[in-house]
C-alpha cells in the first residue's frame, strides 16, 4: 500500500490549503464601529432585541421606545439629566386654576422631517387614531386622563368631538382633563401621546390600519431629532440627523445605529468595539468589569419591581398570615448581594423608591421568627400539613436561580415544600391570565414617574391584578388620590394604600430593578434615568 502516500498527501494538501485560506481571511484588521463612530459622530447602541414596531401608537416596550425617541417628539420632553418637564413641540403652556385645562402654545419651528409644520390638528388626528377602538392600541389607556377619552375608546361614545381636545387656532392645542392629574405633563413624553404625520398615515392605509407600512425607511415621516434611514430586521436600524428638527443645531450626533444583538452576545460585541453602549451586562462578567474597567460599568436604578404574585382565592394563600410568613422569611439582602449581584435593591415595599418623589414608609420586616409564628397561627406549626404549592415562572435561568434560592429559604425557615414550575413565555402569560397558579413570578415597570402606576395594580378592577385580592378601602384610596389636587395629601393617600398592600401582601416584593449597561468612555451626556429615557439630543461622542 505504498502508493497510498501520494493520495493521502493530496488529501492533506487539500486540508492544509483550507487552513491557509482560513488564516488568510483573518488578515487586515478592520476599523471597529466604535472608532468609526467616534470619527463620524455616530453612536452604536445595543438594544437587546428587535423592536416589534416603530409606530408610537402600537408599541408597548422600552426597546421600541428607545428607537422611537430618536424619531418622534411629543408636546413636552424630559430634561436628559434632571428629567424635569421641558418644552417639546409645545414651547409653553398655561394650566387653568382647577388644573383640568392645559393650553399648549406650539413652537413655530416644530416641523416634520419633510418640512411640514407640526400643527395642533396633527395631534388631534393622532389622539383620535390611538383612541379609535378599531386600531386596537394596547396602551391607549395612557390617554384616559383626557376628558371623554375612555368613553370614546370603550365605544361608549362614537363622536370624537366629545373628547377634551381642541385647536382654537393654528398654534394652540387645548387639552381638558377628567380630573387634575399631577403627572400629566410627565406623561406627555410617553410615546402614546406622540404625534404621527396624518398625510403619511393616510397615504398607507386607513387611520385605524394596524398593518400599514408607513414606518418603513423612506416612508417614515417623524418630528424627532433624527430620520429613519435603514431598517433590516435582526440586523439594525440606522437613523441620521433631521435637518428640519426644531433644535437641529443642538443635536450632538450625526446618526445612531441601533443593533438588536442578543443580550448574551452584547458584552462580546462591546469588547470587540462594535458598540458604544449595551442594553445589559451578563451577571458573570460584572465582577470582571468591576475589577478591570469600573468606568465602563453603569448601574442605574430603574422604575421596576420584581415580585411574586400570590393567588389568594383559596387554600393556605387565602390566609393573610401565610402570605406574611412567606414574605417575612426572605432575606432580600442576601439575594441581591449574592445571587443577583448587579446592584439590585432589596424590596421591602412595592413602589420603587423615589417614584415621582414618593418614598414608601411601609416596610415589611425580614424576621424568620415572626414568619414562623405567623405560619403557626395559621395552623401550620413548623410547616406541618402545609400543602405543596407551586411556584411558576417563565423559562429563564435567572428566574430559576432566584426561585431555587427562595424555595430553599422557605424550606429552611418555614419547613414548607414548594414545587418549581416553568413555562415558556406565552404559555406562562396564558396561565397567569387564567388564574390557574399558586405563586407566580411577575414584574412591573412603571409607565410614568408616579406611584399611581404601581399602586393602581392592587385595585380590584385592574386587569393586571390576578391575585383575587381586593379591598374596598384600598380601591377608594387610589380613586381618591386620582382626584386629589394637593400633592402632599395625594402622597399621603398613596402611603396609606401602600401600608394596606404591605400588610395584606397579595404580592411579595423581592427586589427593585437596576439597569446595567456597558458604556464607552467617549459617550458623553448619557445620564441615569429611572424610566430609561435618554434623549439623544444631549449625547455626544468625544475622544
Amino acid at each position: 500500500m505504498l502508493s497510498n502516500v501520494s493520495f493521502i498527501n493530496k488529501a492533506f494538501f487539500q486540508l492544509a490549503s483550507l487552513v491557509l485560506a482560513f488564516g488568510w481571511c483573518a488578515c487586515a484588521k478592520k476599523q471597529t464601529n466604535v472608532e468609526r463612530g467616534i470619527q463620524n459622530g455616530e453612536l452604536y447602541i445595543g438594544i437587546g432585541a428587535e423592536p416589534a414596531a416603530l409606530d408610537p401608537h402600537l408599541t408597548t416596550g422600552l426597546t421600541e421606545y428607545s428607537v422611537m425617541l430618536a424619531l418622534l417628539e411629543g408636546l413636552t420632553t424630559l430634561h436628559p439629566k434632571t428629567m424635569a418637564v421641558e418644552p417639546g413641540v409645545a414651547q409653553s403652556w398655561v394650566i387653568s386654576e382647577d388644573r383640568k385645562r392645559y393650553t399648549f402654545h406650539f413652537d413655530p419651528e416644530a416641523r416634520w422631517s419633510n418640512g411640514d409644520r407640526v400643527t395642533p390638528e396633527d395631534f388631534i388626528f393622532s389622539f383620535k387614531r390611538i383612541l379609535s377602538p378599531a386600531l386596537g392600541a394596547p396602551y391607549a389607556y395612557m390617554l384616559y386622563p383626557m376628558r371623554g377619552a375612555e368613553a370614546f375608546h370603550r365605544s361608549q361614545s362614537i363622536d370624537f368631538g366629545s373628547v377634551g381636545v381642541s385647536a382654537p387656532d393654528a398654534h394652540t392645542l387645548v387639552i381638558e382633563l377628567e380630573s387634575p392629574t399631577p403627572y400629566f405633563l410627565n406623561m406627555l413624553s410617553h410615546n402614546t401621546w406622540w404625534p404621527v404625520h396624518p398625510p403619511t398615515i393616510l397615504e398607507h392605509g386607513a387611520i385605524t390600519d394596524r398593518i400599514s407600512k408607513w414606518t418603513k425607511p423612506g416612508k417614515f415621516i417623524g418630528n424627532g431629532p433624527f430620520i429613519l434611514e435603514r431598517w433590516r430586521l435582526n440586523n439594525g436600524i440606522s437613523v441620521v440627523r433631521n435637518p428640519h428638527y426644531r433644535k437641529h443645531s443642538k443635536v450632538g450626533l450625526n446618526g445612531i445605529h441601533f443593533l438588536p444583538i442578543a443580550v448574551q452576545s452584547e458584552e462580546r460585541a462591546f469588547r470587540a468595539g462594535h458598540l458604544h453602549l449595551t442594553s445589559s451586562v451578563p451577571i458573570h462578567r460584572i465582577d470582571w468589569y468591576r475589577k478591570n474597567h469600573p468606568e465602563r460599568l453603569r448601574f442605574d436604578t430603574a422604575l421596576g419591581v420584581y415580585y411574586y404574585m400570590l393567588n389568594t382565592k383559596s387554600g393556605p394563600l387565602a390566609d393573610t398570615r401565610v402570605r406574611q410568613a412567606l414574605a417575612y422569611s426572605i432575606n432580600r439582602e442576601d439575594l441581591t448581594k449574592h445571587i443577583l449581584r448587579a446592584g439590585q435593591k432589596p424590596a421591602y415595599h412595592f413602589t420603587p423608591p423615589n417614584t415621582g418623589g414618593y418614598q414608601a414608609r411601609a416596610r415589611l420586616p425580614y424576621d424568620p421568627q415572626l414568619a414562623r409564628k405567623r405560619l403557626a397561627e395559621a395552623g401550620f406549626p413548623d410547616g406541618k400539613e402545609f400543602p405543596k404549592l407551586q411556584l411558576l415562572f417563565n423559562t429563564s435561568e435567572s428566574h430559576r436561580t432566584l426561585a431555587v434560592a427562595i424555595q430553599q429559604i422557605w424550606k429552611r425557615e418555614l419547613g414548607i415544600d414548594i414545587e418549581l414550575h416553568n413555562q415558556e413565555w406565552k404559555a406562562y402569560l396564558a396561565t397567569r391570565q387564567s388564574g390557574n397558579f399558586d405563586i407566580l413570578r411577575a414584574a412591573w415597570y412603571g409607565d410614568y414617574d408616579d406611584p399611581n402606576t404601581f399602586l393602581s395594580l392592587g385595585e380590584s378592577r385592574n386587569g393586571n391584578n390576578h391575585t383575587n385580592w381586593h379591598d374596598p378601602h384600598y380601591d377608594a384610596l387610589i380613586k381618591k388620590a386620582a382626584k386629589e389636587t394637593d400633592p402632599v395629601a395625594r402622597m399621603e393617600l398613596f402611603q396609606e394604600a401602600e401600608a394596606i398592600l404591605i400588610e395584606a401582601l397579595p404580592v411579595i416584593p423581592i427586589y427593585f430593578y437596576v439597569t446595567s449597561r456597558l458604556i464607552h468612555p467617549a459617550v458623553k451626556g448619557w445620564y441615569p434615568s429611572l424610566l430609561d429615557n435618554h434623549p439623544y439630543q444631549a449625547i455626544q461622542l468625544k475622544k
Binding site: 483573518a26 391607549a140 430586521l233 448574551q264
Partner: protein, 305 residues
C-alpha cells in the same frame, strides 16, 4: 426523467398540505396567543386586534382563508412585527442564511469527504480510529458549544476575526465552521462507510490488479459509488443548512432566517410560523428531488426505476 420530476412535484402537494394543516392545528393548540402581552390589553381591545387579522372568526374559516391566500402566494402579515409581511421577512433573511449554509456545506464537504476516504483507506489502523473518534466527537459537539469555543480561540484570544456581525468576507469563516464542522463529521462517517463497502468489491480488486494506482482507483472507480450515502444525506442536510440556524445566527448576530423560525413559534406569530415551516418544507422536498436526480446520474441502475 421529466415524468419523474412531474410525478414528484405532484406527490409534494399532499405532503405540503399535511404539513401545513398539522402546523395550523398544533399552533392553535399551543397555549397563549400572538397578542398576549406582559401588560395585557382589555378584552375589547384584544378582540379589535384579533379582528384585524381575522382571528375572531371560526377556526375553519381561518384555515380556509389561509389556504386560499396560500394559493394566491400570500403568506400574510407577521403578527409580531407590525408592518412587515412574512414574504418580505423571508425574502430579506433567506439570502443570508443561504450564503451561510453554502459556505458551511463547502466546509462540511471539504472536511468530511477527504477525512472519510482517508479513514477508509487506513482501515483497522490507529489513524482510522483516531480520525473516527474526532468525527464522532464532532457530531456530538453541538453548535452552541463549538461556536463559543471557536469564538474564544480565533476571535477573542487570537483576534483574527470579528466576534460577530456579517459585514466583511472574513465574517463568514467562524459561523461557516461552526455550522459546517458537525455536518462534516457526519459526512466523514458516511463517506468512510461507503468507501469501505466499495473497496471490498471485485471491480476494485480487478482495477488494482491491472496496476492502477490507488488514487486512480479511488478517484475514478470507487468514489462515485462510495459517495452514494453522502449524496442521499446531502438533500436534507442542505435544506437544513441553508434554512438558517437559530444558534449560529444568534450567536454571531447574522440577519438570517434561523432566529425568525424559533422566535415566531415562541411569539405565537401564526403567519410567520406557517410561512417558515412551509418554506422549509418546500426546501426539503426540492433538495430531496435534486438528490434523487443526482443519484440517478451517479447510479445508472436506478435510472429506469
Amino acid at each position: 426523467m421529466l415524468t419523474h420530476i412531474i410525478k414528484r412535484f405532484l406527490q409534494a402537494i399532499p405532503t405540503l398540505w399535511i404539513i401545513v394543516t398539522a402546523t395550523f392545528v398544533l399552533l392553535r393548540l399551543a397555549p397563549g396567543g400572538p397578542f398576549d402581552t406582559e401588560k395585557p390589553v382589555s378584552p375589547e381591545i384584544k378582540l379589535q386586534i384579533e379582528a384585524h387579522y381575522g382571528l375572531n372568526e371560526g377556526l375553519h374559516v381561518q384555515y380556509l382563508r389561509f389556504l386560499g391566500n396560500l394559493l394566491k402566494g400570500d403568506l400574510g402579515p407577521s403578527y409580531q412585527y407590525a408592518g412587515w409581511d412574512v414574504q418580505e421577512i423571508i425574502a430579506q433573511a433567506f439570502p443570508v442564511s443561504l450564503e451561510l449554509g453554502l459556505w458551511a456545506l463547502l466546509v462540511a464537504l471539504l472536511i468530511g469527504i477527504p477525512l472519510g476516504v482517508f479513514a477508509a483507506l487506513r482501515h483497522n489502523k490507529p489513524s482510522e480510529s483516531a480520525l473516527m473518534a474526532i468525527a464522532t466527537a464532532g457530531i456530538c459537539l453541538p453548535s452552541f458549544v463549538l461556536g463559543p469555543m471557536l469564538l474564544l480561540a480565533f476571535a477573542i484570544s487570537l483576534d483574527w476575526f470579528n466576534p460577530l456581525g456579517w459585514n466583511y468576507a472574513s465574517d463568514r469563516v467562524l459561523p461557516a465552521l461552526t455550522l459546517g464542522l458537525m455536518y462534516g463529521a457526519y459526512i466523514a462517517r458516511l463517506a468512510r462507510g461507503g468507501m469501505l463497502d466499495v473497496l471490498q468489491n471485485e471491480f476494485i480488486r480487478t482495477a488494482r490488479a491491472k496496476g492502477l494506482s490507488l488514487s486512480a482507483v479511488v478517484g475514478r472507480h470507487a468514489l462515485r459509488s462510495a459517495l452514494q450515502p453522502v449524496v442521499a444525506y446531502l438533500g436534507p442536510a442542505t435544506a437544513g443548512l441553508i434554512s438558517g440556524s437559530f444558534v449560529v445566527e444568534t450567536l454571531f448576530f447574522i440577519p438570517g432566517l434561523g432566529p425568525f423560525f424559533v422566535n415566531a413559534a415562541l411569539n405565537r406569530d401564526y403567519t410567520m410560523v406557517m410561512g417558515t415551516v412551509l418554506f422549509y418544507a418546500i426546501l426539503i422536498i426540492t433538495f430531496n428531488l435534486i438528490v434523487d436526480l443526482v443519484q440517478m446520474w451517479m447510479q445508472p441502475r436506478t435510472r429506469n426505476e
